[in-house]
């Protein structure tokens, strides 16, 4: 199985993110940021006023009577005094006032201070977000200035995209292969992680199957078959070009999950002649398998081609579904021919291990 043909486009970042628009966006973010800054300043003033008021209210009842200069109009004062120094008419909000003592007033003011602080915290969080946005725009403008190039590659089969940014525009399309290798090196680590993840998933599935053994042979067969296609896919992935496998990573697992559940759903249909448990288990499995199938499903064509030669695997995925059902029908009354085939074809992978257990 050779690599599928890779088409690619090279687009300069300046066409993807035109510099004027980036600047505009950056300006907008800056404006919003300054607005939030103003609000923040206002709130801080409120908090400062509040604390000074608390101090004043606490000091006033120290004396029974204070001598003060009372403001009178805009520009005059007259000597007077503050009496009833423990009685405060506090504004509760919405033009409601209440008579309170100094202590109670201080409590009210403290509660107001707390709500102000929480507003300040919320504002701070918003400002953080805005700053992150602003820094992103700044980096984009610098990248655009450096003439960075965005390279998209398409895999012929399933037209998914892998987009990543490379160095300056000297990387033209002939060096797409180099880009591939770069991707390889970049994602080599992730590939191992994926592999480990897949292994753990397969272990989980194994356990599930063992659990499902009690439900009956037929159910197992269903599971097996479902697992078979998935694991075959995995094996192929691991044995074939890493590049293709990573391509599959880029696929939206949802898409393939759907396809996969279609597959299992269809497989369930002919079988569920009164065996409703089948469908249920399959869907359970499909849910389990969906996350790990992102690698396997797209290349299912290939494993179908290699291991299940009797299938018309060169067509679209739906072709393989049909074969699946046929296979199942054969299986249900009798033997697990497919699984034995598949296990025979990929003996080396731990995936087929649990298939062999069935035998």
């Amino acid at each position: 199985m050779g690599k599928p043909e890779v088409k690619g486009t090279v687009t300069s970042l300046s066409s993807m993110f035109p510099p004027e628009e980036v600047q505009k966006a950056a300006k907008m973010v800056e404006e919003k940021l300054s607005e939030k800054q103003n609000e923040m300043n206002q709130l801080k003033e409120f908090i400062a006023d509040n604390t000074s008021l608390v101090n004043l209210v606490q000091k006033l009842p120290d004396e029974l009577h204070h001598d003060i200069m009372v403001p009178f109009g805009k520009a005059a004062f007259f000597p007077g005094g503050l009496i009833h120094t423990n009685e405060f008419l506090v504004l509760l909000g919405e033009s409601y006032y209440a008579d309170r003592t100094a202590k109670q007033t201080v409590e009210i003011l403290k509660r107001r201070g707390k709500s102000l602080m929480s507003k300040v915290d919320a504002l701070k969080a918003e400002m953080q977000d805005l700053k992150a946005e602003a820094s992103f725009f700044d980096s984009t403008t610098s990248e655009v200035a450096e003439d960075l190039v965005e390279i998209k590659e398409y895999e012929e089969d399933n037209s998914t995209e892998r987009v990543f940014q490379s160095g300056p525009a000297e990387l033209e399309s002939p060096t797409l292969a180099e880009a591939d290798n770069k991707m390889d090196s970049k994602l080599g680590a992730s590939k191992d992680d994926e592999y480990a993840r897949l292994m753990s998933r397969l272990d989980e599935l194994e356990k599930e199957e063992l659990a499902a053994e009690d439900d009956g042979e037929n159910d197992e067969d269903e599971d097996e078959d479902a697992n078979a296609t998935e694991t075959d896919g995995d094996e192929n992935e691991l044995t074939e070009a890493a590049f293709q496998w990573k391509k599959d990573e880029g696929y939206s697992s949802r898409d393939h999950g759907q396809r996969y559940s279609e597959c299992t759903g269809l497989t369930a249909e002919p079988v569920t002649q009164g065996e409703m448990s089948h469908g249920r288990i399959i869907h359970q499995d499909s849910k389990m398998l969906n996350p790990s199938i992102n690698a396997s499903v797209p290349s299912e064509k290939k494993p179908v081609q290699t291991s299940k030669s009797e299938f018309d695997s060169s067509k679209a995925f739906t072709g393989s579904i049909v074969e699946h059902t046929e296979n199942l029908e054969k299986k249900i009354p009798g033997q697990n021919t497919t699984s034995s085939e598949s296990s025979g074809s990929k003996p080396s992978k731990p995936v087929s291990r649990f298939k062999m257990q069935r035998k």
């Binding site: 033009s95 006032y97 209440a98 709500s115």
Partner: protein, 131 residues
């Protein structure tokens, strides 16, 4: 030729009308937002007041500022008034929400209609250019 240019002019007039409608709608939506903001603030304030009133003793004096007059009020009465106001404001907010949704839908459909008219204009102009 002239018929197509007349049709073109008509389409452009249509486009202008639709654009006016769209701008009106956008103004309405902006107003709606503002009123909503006001009501939301008032609602918050009223809830604060309710909390404070609950903390008051039964015999505490409560006054209400009506214009330049500070009128003494009964605590229970003040409580009831504040609660009613809260209910009223929430109902208003809900009404505003639904009207905002309507306005947004209308705006959306207007935008689509404008797009269609623009496309027709473009096809007309392309046809004129060819001919």
């Amino acid at each position: 030729m002239s018929s197509s240019s007349a049709a073109l002019r008509e389409l452009q007039r249509d486009l202008e009308n639709k654009a006016n409608d769209l701008s009106k709608l956008q103004k309405d939506i902006a107003k709606n937002h503002q009123v909503r903001k006001k009501y939301t603030i008032q609602l918050g304030e009223n809830e604060l007041v309710l909390k404070e009133l609950d903390l008051l003793n039964e015999d505490a004096n409560v006054y209400k500022l009506i214009g330049p007059v500070l009128v003494k009020q009964d605590l229970a009465e003040a409580n009831a008034n504040v609660r009613k106001r809260i209910e009223y404001i929430s109902a208003e907010l809900k009404r505003l929400d639904s009207s905002l949704q309507d306005l947004e839908e209308k705006q959306h459909s207007k935008r689509e209609a404008i797009l269609k008219v623009q496309q027709r204009i473009q096809s007309h102009q392309a046809g004129k250019a060819k001919a």
